[in-house]
């Protein structure tokens, strides 16, 4: 303690108003980090209470001894060289940045540390301070995060792969079913009675529907993989493309569509068109009798644009709101409303691929409003990173 307090007392005149040696010494003792003061020769001249807890030595056991005793053997030689360098060019810095540093307890166990370095000149020579944090918990959390991330990436890659393979392999037997039913129809139509023809018709219908489901599954797996090309586009152009693709449905339903001013965003234009197309198509489809009125707008909220597509359709009951974005979820029979229940799942996947979220607010009998967010600050380069699959 002697060296340090002598230095403290020398500074006392300057610091008296702010902090007495007692106060500083109390701070030193109470610090959450282990603080070690080391002489040029590498001997520990001072250590605080936390040092005892962290390394398992009493101060009596370490004071006056070489600092390297607190390091794993493999670091000791290198560390004594670095210490020499540090005294030659002292400055405040973090030790061994980018390296995995470790401390060694009295019982020989090791733990990961982060060390801040500083130095001071005293009458009897320079002293170095090492401020040591035990980062076991932080490292554990970071490792766990990385592990979970990798697992997630792997399992989502497996799901994509599965969807792709399953849909390809499912096509084969289905082709057999369809083809042979068609062959029976061609060859034996005259031999069949009405029942027979009806049975075949149901079987063919089933096969056709299954073929559509498989095609949807393929679309769904493609929406999450493959290269996306992110560029800055005017949302108005995107919406106009979507409307052009839906021209037949719009004309037939006499839908009235109004637009607010829409911003420019960085998106994959093909995928983004699909988002609007799916949401507008749903707004047209889920109608009772009146002609659809659809309003599309956008508002800025913080770093995001929130797009909304509001309709006057049948609405969705609150208890179903979560289900509608899941794959192959349908709230209605295919007699009431056609479709396989893939549209919103694909839409959600595309929005999430752009780093956004999608949700819906609805009142049954009055209408629904679908919202989705797109980053307003995404630049083309960043966007590519967000969007590229693992």
């Amino acid at each position: 303690m002697g060296e340090f307090l002598r230095w403290f007392r020398a500074r006392r005149r300057v610091t008296e108003n702010v902090a007495s040696a007692d106060v500083l010494s109390a701070c030193f003792e109470a610090a959450p980090q282990a603080i070690l003061v080391v002489s040029r020769e590498g001997r520990i001249v001072l250590a605080n209470a936390r040092t005892e807890q962290m390394f398992g030595y009493t101060r009596d056991e370490i004071l006056g001894r070489e600092l390297e005793m607190l390091l794993p053997h493999r670091f000791r030689t290198a560390h004594s060289h670095h210490r020499g360098d540090y005294f030659a060019h002292p400055r405040v810095r973090t030790m061994g940045s980018g390296m995995e540093l470790a401390g060694r307890r009295k019982d020989g166990s090791e733990f990961p540390v982060e060390i801040g370095l500083a130095s001071v000149n005293t009458k009897t020579g320079p002293l170095a301070f090492g401020m040591v944090s035990d980062i076991t918990e932080r490292k554990k959390a970071a490792d766990e995060l990385q592990r979970v991330n990798e697992e997630l990436r792997r399992s989502s890659a497996e799901v994509e792969q599965f969807a792709h393979v399953a849909s390809h392999d499912l096509q084969e037997p289905l082709r057999m079913v369809t083809n042979y039913l068609q062959l029976i129809e061609r060859r034996y139509n005259d031999l069949l009675d009405d029942d027979g023809r009806e049975f075949i018709r149901y079987a063919v219908d089933g096969a056709i529907r299954m073929k559509a489901l498989i095609a949807d599954l393929l679309d769904f797996s493609r929406a999450g993989t493959g290269a996306a090309h992110f560029v800055r586009v005017a949302t108005l152009d995107i919406v106009q493309d979507a409307l052009a693709n839906l021209k037949a449905a719009i004309d037939e339903s006499h839908a009235q569509i109004s637009l607010d001013l829409l911003p420019a965003v960085v998106v994959d234009p093909v995928l983004f068109t699909q988002v609007f197309q799916n949401l507008i198509a749903n707004a047209i489809k889920f109608q009772r009798n009146s002609s659809p009125k659809i309003h599309i707008s956008a508002s800025r909220e913080g770093k995001e644009w929130i797009f909304s597509i509001r309709d006057n359709g049948i609405g969705i009951e609150a208890r179903h709101l979560d289900r509608i974005f899941r794959i192959f979820e349908r709230l209605h029979s295919s007699q009431e409303y056609s479709g396989s229940g893939i549209g919103l799942a694909i839409t959600r996947k595309i929005v999430e691929r752009h780093g956004g979220r999608i949700w819906v607010e609805s009142q049954p009998g009055i209408g629904s409003t679908f919202f989705f967010s797109i980053s307003a600050e995404m630049e083309s380069a960043n966007a590519a990173r967000v969007g590229s699959p693992a």
């Binding site: 057999m176 083809n179 042979y180 068609q182 062959l183």
Partner: protein, 149 residues
């Protein structure tokens, strides 16, 4: 269509290399409806196909086909290997090989042509188109095109 040559009178031999019995029967039926003048010989895997073409073992009396319909995914020796061996073989490589596959993946198509496939045809998804295909394959390879005698 008046200048089209008449199709040969005697049945023309075709070799179909296909492992799925459902597909074999389907193609046979399609040729029965659409084709008029061909006889389909069947090989169920790549090794059988090459034995048939080289008249090995029990295939000693097998005819030389006018063209070959080759599936890509076959047990034992797959379609690509069969194709490569045919096109390496001086005695066999003049026989046109038509790849008949469910895959439309560009990689599969490119590889087949790299291996000197004479043409690549996706398997039609319905019977009507399959009948059409059998008709047009016969017409093209047996009538429009001239093959070495």
């Amino acid at each position: 269509m008046s200048q089209r040559k008449t199709l040969p009178q005697n049945p023309v031999e075709i070799l179909l290399v296909e492992d799925n019995p459902g597909d074999i029967r389907l193609i046979q039926e399609a040729f029965k409806e659409g084709g008029v003048c061909s006889h389909l010989n069947i090989a169920r895997d790549g090794e059988q196909a090459l034995a048939f073409l080289r008249r090995e073992g029990s295939f000693i009396r097998s005819p030389r086909p006018a063209f070959i319909l080759l599936d890509l995914n076959l047990p034992r020796k797959d379609g690509r290997e069969v194709l490569a061996e045919i096109k390496k073989d001086k005695a066999l490589r003049q026989i046109p090989v038509v790849i008949l596959s469910t895959s439309t993946a560009s990689e599969d198509v490119r590889r087949a042509y790299d291996l000197h496939a004479n043409c690549y045809v996706p398997k039609p998804l319905d019977v009507e188109k399959l009948v059409q295909l059998s008709k047009s394959l016969e017409e093209f390879w047996l009538s429009t095109a001239i093959l070495p005698a």
